[in-house]
Amino acid sequence: MNRRDFLGTIGAAAMTAWAPGAAFAQRGSANYSNLLVLVELKGGNDGLNTVVPYADAEYYALRPRLAIPRDQVLQLDGRAGLHPSLEPLMGPWKNRELAIVQSVGYPGGNLSHFRSIEIWDTASKSNEYLADGWLARTFAQAPVPKAYAADGVVVGGAEMGPFAGRATRAIALTDTEQFLRQARLAAPAGGARNAALHHILRVEQDIAQAAAGLNGNRSFATEFPRSPFGNAVRTASQVVASGAGVAAVRVSLNGFDTHGNQPAIHARLLKDLADGLLALRGALVELGRWDSTLIMTYAEFGRRPRENLSNGTDHGTANAHFLLGGRVQGGLYGAPPGLARLDGNGNPPFAVDFRDIYATALERWWGVDSARALNGRFAPLEVLKA
């Protein structure tokens, strides 16, 4: 029996139940057996105290109270170092599984939380309003296999962000078991008589399918931190452990809008982040998914280089972000913060457009042409191993 006969005999549905990734064996399709995990740092993380330009005198001049002292920085190279709270990430860094992209932003950086995260979520220009998220547009163009539990899962919070769009099969849940209980309220049945009803019935169907495909009882040897972010990472791991597959998961960590008393708050947030990411790595390794997972952080903006008078930082623009995974080519990417070239608001220029990072995920990770989903041609970073 050759492969073609074999597929014909057992049928596509049985095939995907048996191995989620195998549904994409056909050439030219998107490879959604590669999982994308987005980590949103809500409120706008201070990239400058996350990836510290410890050799730049300008940094210490702008932040007499907030700067991380040179001797506390976890050095990555001769210029950049991590905040000491990110110590748990030094393992992946030394393993060369952690890529750090500096000076990520976009032209006309908007300083409003609401507007700027909308720009990131929809991958729009700064003066353009798009209704659908960038992943929703991607899935519309290159559909996720029908047998998957969902296109995407949002862990914690009900805002669909990059998944927002009428046709996306996106599920929001805080806890898989709780979702499975609530999903009983959705009972898809009957035929649609108009577009509105059709849409509602489709969403009911999506909920039921996700509920059928997800389970909440995989136990892990990995210990998850006892924090909201730790719980989110645990839920994300449960979702990934479910056999039916999802293309993307988003988790978020809240509280980065550090206008005042930043040092203690930011140190705790970064520790939560690093502990959570390390636990996620552990769970994915257990599941055999570490090499087929790409983790990316994002946020609406970075923070102002010059500290404010409340021992905090105000809204900024360019920021540092992490890419993490078994097939990530570790190292520093982008450009060091341009602290000598601040704009009229006191913010640094960007070197890497955030849509370049999205293009990396679409082109290099999933094998999808990104020009349509991103409304333009952006240059993927060479940050993944073949």
């Binding site: 409003s112 209704a131 009803l197 849409h199 509602i200 969403v203 409340s310």
Partner: protein, 481 residues
């Protein structure tokens, strides 16, 4: 011949009494969900009479008293810049609380008004002339804008446009306050064309640049929070907007926009999507837009033409619109005659379902329609309805939770908030037997009041009482209007 026949049958339909289903349809689209008494009253009217009565119902001043602080001396959000850390936090906390009070005020008005159509239209304009508390940061100015929108809700669109352009919250929201001669901010000039009057593509980038110059000098007096014209900041040079040249000021630009036939069509198409169906009929929109313009932009004229049209009553347009979160929450509470205490839980319910009053997501407003429903909001809607129709069964549990809280009192604000929330939930009640009594066991009659069309899953034969209500409100068709 066939055209003549169609005309007479339409004319007949227009001259005959509405009957129950048409009356229900009209009221559900123009109020938050009608009760049986109102439907029966309207069933006896013709289309014209029904439209007249609805338009006549409009009331301008709300019946709900606003929070006391709306008339307090203006608190400029700018003063925050001068504050120290602690003071600023306290100020922000206070503004946050006031924001909740403001939303509670409007929701209370929606729940209690005898003219829900006024609220629907005020909400329509709030979603057209968008401003958001998230950027304006002044509950006082957001309140004043709401008063302005409701004053003109069924008035004259031209006057409304002129008033909104000088509205302080709008001046902050679309950056008019920071626009000056030599450095015009284009935000308002762009949106007034794209979203308030012409619609995308009916103007050029140069029109925006020139219009932005015309609006310079329209500013805000930081002491009273009132509109002020600052002549020194105004660019009084010659501008050309949509082919008209002169030393145009802001008023002149607005009049140029109102003179474009496209403006009437744009607004009528939006009213169509709100009240008739998701897909406007281009021919009919043109016809009604002409009525609208010929009336000098009287909003009532456009609404009357829309609400007596065959399209409004067409079979295929029934149950074709998705209820907004406000429709669902306020409609359910009104239709079933729930009694409520503090409306706090419903402020959170509507915002949790995606419609945070006074804070639309961006200048385009809530996209609405199918965008209201995703997996999270659909389960949220169903969970809300389930809680509501089991509120009597859960009261004991709520009481226990609130009691436990009392013992733990003094532990901080969050607990206070939760306790307020629980107490408010305990005050919600539904007189099921009383409400059901009027149907005298007639399940079909009950269904015709509750649903805009037959349910996807018909209730099992013999299902009655609360079980029937729960069954029908869980049906996907309950999400439609």
């Amino acid at each position: 011949m066939s055209g003549w026949l169609a005309l007479t049958s339409a004319a007949q339909a227009a001259g005959a009494p509405l009957g129950f289903d048409d009356a229900r349809h009209l009221l559900n689209r123009t109020s938050f969900a009608a009760n049986a008494e109102d439907i029966h009253a309207f069933a006896r009217l013709t289309r014209e009479q029904a439209a007249e009565r609805l338009l006549g119902w409009a009331r301008k001043p709300p019946v709900t008293a606003p929070p006391a602080w709306v008339d307090a001396p203006f608190e400029s959000p700018r003063q925050m810049r001068m504050m120290g850390e602690e003071e600023r936090k306290a100020f922000q906390r206070e503004q946050f609380e006031k924001g909740i009070e403001l939303r509670a005020w409007w929701l209370t008005e929606m729940l209690t008004t005898s003219s829900p159509f006024t609220e629907k239209m005020t909400l329509f304009w709030h979603n057209h002339f968008v401003s958001s508390q998230q950027k304006v940061r002044s509950p006082q100015l957001m309140y004043r804008q709401n008063v302005l929108l409701r004053r003109h809700a069924l008035g004259n669109f031209g006057q409304l446009l002129h008033a909104v352009a000088k509205d302080p919250a709008m001046l902050i929201y679309l950056d008019g306050v920071s626009s000056r001669k030599g450095q015009p901010n284009e935000n308002f000039a762009r949106e007034v064309m794209e979203l308030f009057t012409l619609g995308e593509g009916a103007y050029g980038e140069q029109d925006i640049k020139e219009a932005a110059r015309a609006f310079t000098g329209w500013s805000l007096d930081p002491r009273g929070g009132e509109f002020v014209f600052r002549r020194a900041l105004h660019d009084d040079g010659v501008k050309t907007v949509l082919g008209r040249s002169g030393r145009l000021d802001g008023e002149a630009v607005l009049d140029i926009l109102l003179a474009q036939p496209q403006t009437a069509e744009f607004v009528v198409a939006k009213l169509w999507r709100e009240f008739v169906s998701p897909r406007p009929d281009a021919q009919e929109v043109k016809r009604i837009a002409r009525v609208f313009r010929d009336s000098g932009y009287e909003i009532r004229a456009a609404l009357r033409a829309l609400l007596v049209s065959d399209a409004f009553y067409a079979r295929e347009n029934r149950a074709s619109l998705i209820k907004s979160p406000v429709d669902l929450v306020v409609g359910t509470l009104r239709q079933f005659g729930f009694s409520t205490g503090e409306v706090l839980p419903f402020v959170f319910a509507t915002s949790g379902l995606g419609q945070n009053l006074f804070a639309p997501p961006n200048v385009r407003g809530w996209p609405g329609g199918e965008n209201w429903i995703n997996s999270s909001t659909l389960l949220g809607r169903k969970a809300f309805l389930e809680r509501l129709f089991r509120v009597d069964e859960t009261r004991a549990m709520l009481a226990a939770a609130a009691g436990g809280m009392e013992r733990a009192k003094g532990t901080g604000r969050l607990t206070d908030g939760r306790e307020r929330f629980l107490r408010a939930m305990m005050d919600v009640s539904f007189d099921g037997p009383g409400w059901l009594a009027r149907f005298q066991g007639d399940a079909a009659a009950l269904q015709r009041v509750v649903l805009a069309a037959a349910p996807v899953t018909a209730p099992p034969a013999g299902m009655q009482g609360m079980d029937l209500i729960r069954h029908l409100t869980m049906d996907p068709v309950y999400q439609l209007k």
